[in-house]
């Protein structure tokens, strides 16, 4: 299951790492305990709106920017999950029943046309055998 808090945590961590800053640094700037920031980054704790604002401010990024990143990531994961779920959603194949349900008219009208020369030699063989 995709969890929003995990995606938000990942985005916050990536942002912090891009800036080459430590947990101590950012937690002090955001006035959040280091342990709490770590838990938020790891997706173990749900950050409140106030806390999220404080962390974003400490990182010098807008919340919109973080949420855009989260949104893009979420869209990718949901698409992937939908694709993975599709084969499982189909009923298990039951060939016999499937064939029975196919309308007869749908079967292609196959007619073998035998060339005249082949037909002639074939009939001589048949006659000879008889």
């Amino acid at each position: 299951m995709v969890l929003l808090r995990r995606l938000i945590g990942d985005a916050l961590r990536r942002q912090r790492q891009r800036q080459g800053r430590t947990l101590r640094d950012v937690s002090a700037a955001a006035q959040v305990s280091l342990g709490y920031l770590s838990e938020v980054e790891r997706g173990r704790k749900e950050a409140s709106s106030e806390l999220l604002a404080a962390i974003c401010q400490a990182l010098g990024v807008s919340l919109a920017e973080i949420l855009r990143e989260v949104s893009a990531e979420l869209a990718t994961l949901e698409r992937r999950a939908a694709t993975a779920a599709r084969p499982a959603a189909l009923p298990v194949a039951r060939p016999a029943r499937l064939a029975a349900e196919l309308p007869v008219a749908a079967m292609p009208d196959v007619r073998v046309v035998v060339p005249a020369s082949v037909s002639a030699s074939l009939s001589t063989h048949v006659v000879a055998a008889a």
């Binding site: 430590t22 947990l23 002090a28 280091l34 770590s38």
Partner: protein, 206 residues
């Protein structure tokens, strides 16, 4: 043995059986309840009934998981330690001082440990006396893994210094954990140094 796959019940991928998830949830609730029971009543006065009550599970359910209060405490300590270790190893890969500060802060602010520190000095003493075997081995291994993740020495004296440093934070309202963590992290040599000389870690005098 052959199994007819079509005869098996269809189950969404990635979902465990309900029983498996419920077991894990109950166990987590019980361990959480144990922490809250200690916080509320102290480790000695808390009863199995308190733990079940605060965990929100029936007493019978609790006894299905653990026979005694000590068994609950041991499991809570073990789970807490391993979870903290995992977090510290991840943090240490980036910054060792962060990992130290993280662990020290958790030990210092843990509600059950605070309660023990304020009301049960004898229990605190037994928790803070660095020993060997049991959970001490788990703790030592966790420190070693944390140091290794940061590319620092994992020599026994270094592990011991870190362990003793961490234990000093158990349940106490420490100040400037970050500063002390940074000093300790600085004093630990890289892994390549054969015999590390660990400097004494005096608290900053500002």
């Amino acid at each position: 043995m052959t199994v007819d796959a079509s005869a098996l019940p269809l189950r969404e991928r990635g979902l465990r059986s309900r029983a498996g998830n419920a077991m894990g949830r109950t166990r987590a609730a019980v361990l959480d309840g144990a922490g809250r029971a200690i916080e509320k009543h102290g480790s000695r006065r808390a009863t199995m009934a308190d733990i079940a009550n605060l965990a929100g599970v029936a007493k019978g359910t609790l006894y299905n998981h653990f026979r005694t209060k000590d068994a609950v405490y041991a499991a809570a300590l073990d789970t807490g330690l391993r979870s903290l270790a995992e977090e510290c190893v991840a943090a240490a890969a980036e910054d060792l001082a962060d990992a130290f500060a993280l662990a020290a802060e958790r030990l210092s602010t843990s509600a059950p440990l605070r309660r023990i520190a304020s009301d049960e000095p004898a229990v605190l003493a037994s928790l803070a006396a660095v020993g060997s075997g049991g959970e001490w081995d788990v703790a030592r291994e966790s420190v070693r893994a944390t140091l290794a993740a940061a590319g620092r020495t994992t020599a026994e004296p270094a592990v011991d210094v870190v362990l003793r440093w961490l234990v000093s934070f158990v349940g106490n309202n420490a100040r400037d954990i970050e500063g002390q963590a940074a000093l300790l992290a600085q004093s630990l040599p890289p892994a390549s140094v054969a015999s590390p000389v660990v400097e004494s870690n005096d608290p900053p005098t500002d």
